[in-house]
Symmetry: C2
Subunit: 266 residues, 2 copies
């Protein structure tokens, strides 16, 4: 009986939890939340309308931004997303993304504007991977406190293809700008995590300050890119897993979209 109640409660938690947005990374950590167990999911396994490619097509709609402002992974695609994000397909997509970015970087005459050739990177799902969190809690399940605690614990590994790209760009002379929607309150944890994951010597780390709280990611990041331009930087490349990292104004010469079918940040 107790276990039945547990299943029901977890089911309700899962399906009544509020829509996730990356803004949860921008609030201060609250109470302690221990990582004790995976929530139980009721997952619909039958593809939508019998379309075996539905989840692939849904993922493409997310990556091209056709899906727009989506809030939840379709129930029938939870296993698909888990398999994607924890398997070789995601790694392969990331490797090809990094190849594309590097190919463009090699066309840039880095020495042309001494010390001001810049490349912008987002952090979550761009330099660092929170897949461990999603794998532990179950894909499609989000808990603000737990995710904050996860980020505070600074245990994210680097996305290997991104780390390699980062180092290559650095060797080529680009100034690396880290521009994240994470709150200033997470600066120490973020720096610690980045260093532990192998990143170093960034030009600047820009987090969301108190005056940026009400801005969309697109506006916040565009404003910061414009400030960089006013300081003389030429933003050649920009890498992010969300379209809101890449669009708006003061956009880079080339923008590179990393895959992320796990969540949407407006």
């Amino acid at each position: 009986m107790a276990s039945t109640q547990c299943v029901v409660v977890l089911f309700l938690i899962t399906f009544t939890s509020t829509a996730f947005s990356r803004s949860i990374l921008e609030t201060s950590p609250k109470t302690h939340h221990s990582f004790t167990s995976n929530p139980i999911f009721i997952r619909r396994k039958i593809p939508k309308d019998g379309n075996a490619f539905y989840c692939e097509s849904w993922r493409l709609s997310v990556e091209t931004d056709n899906a727009g402002s989506w809030t939840q992974i379709p129930a029938s695609c939870l296993d698909f997303v888990e398999e994607y994000a924890t398997g070789d397909h995601y790694s392969s997509d990331l490797e090809v993304f990094a190849e594309n970015a590097l190919e463009f970087a090699k066309e840039v005459n880095v020495s042309s504007i001494h010390g001001k050739d810049a490349w912008v990177f987002d952090i979550d799902e761009t330099l660092l991977s929170n897949v461990g969190y999603y794998e532990f809690y179950g894909f499609g399940y989000y808990d603000v406190d737990a995710l904050n605690e996860w980020v505070e614990s600074a245990v994210d590994p680097a996305l290997p293809a991104s780390l390699e790209l980062y180092k290559e760009l650095q060797n080529m002379g680009f100034k690396l700008i880290l521009l994240t929607g994470r709150s200033e309150s997470l600066r120490n944890a973020t720096e610690k995590n980045l260093l532990q994951a192998g990143y170093s010597n960034w030009e600047t780390l820009i987090l969301r300050g108190p005056s940026d709280t009400d801005k969309t990611a697109t506006v916040f990041k565009s404003e910061k890119r414009r400030e960089l331009e006013h300081h003389g930087f030429k933003i050649h490349g920009n890498c992010g897993d969300q379209w809101s990292d890449l669009r708006g104004f003061a956009v880079a010469t080339r923008s590179f979209k990393l895959p992320n079918p796990m969540y949407y940040a407006p």
Copy 2:
């Protein structure tokens, strides 16, 4: 011996043919070219660096525009592209694209600006499908004369999901603008093909005129969208298979990218 020579010649034709651009649709048809046989391809079947997901990742890089200005399908992905474009995966992607577009369209208050609520469609690989041409000649193989003749013959079928979307939008009161990089010289063939494929009652069909010849697709299409705005149209949606259909200025409120791993048009 003769057949060996034939293979060698076809190999050379295949791998030395000039890079394709959709501009070939914008030149006048030249000599007669009969559709007699498929070229023979030497296809490298081994995935790049042993990465089983390479072609999937390459396709994603095209659809997100990470690949930028690409000219050739990777040799190891020719069979992959053929299987994609002639199978259920492409259809599924198109269906989800159309669902995304329709979902947004339903949010629009179409009656708000009487008779001026517009939706823009590209034509090739957006309303009409040239897959028959690519299937006949072999994916990755392009011949200017043959493609021109194909387009002149006006035999393209509709992409079913696009035709359904087109009709739904029309019923909702949107004015449908067809904006294509095809040359004015192809107006008759294009109108004939559209009508035969089931499209009708478009507001206007805009083709590339003599003064547009030297413009990139992005500039040509942006200028035409701006003209539409100057005529009082509000462009709510825009559908195209190339990023050059969707970007630039005077962009639609929402842009929808149809998949196309077959070719790139700048």
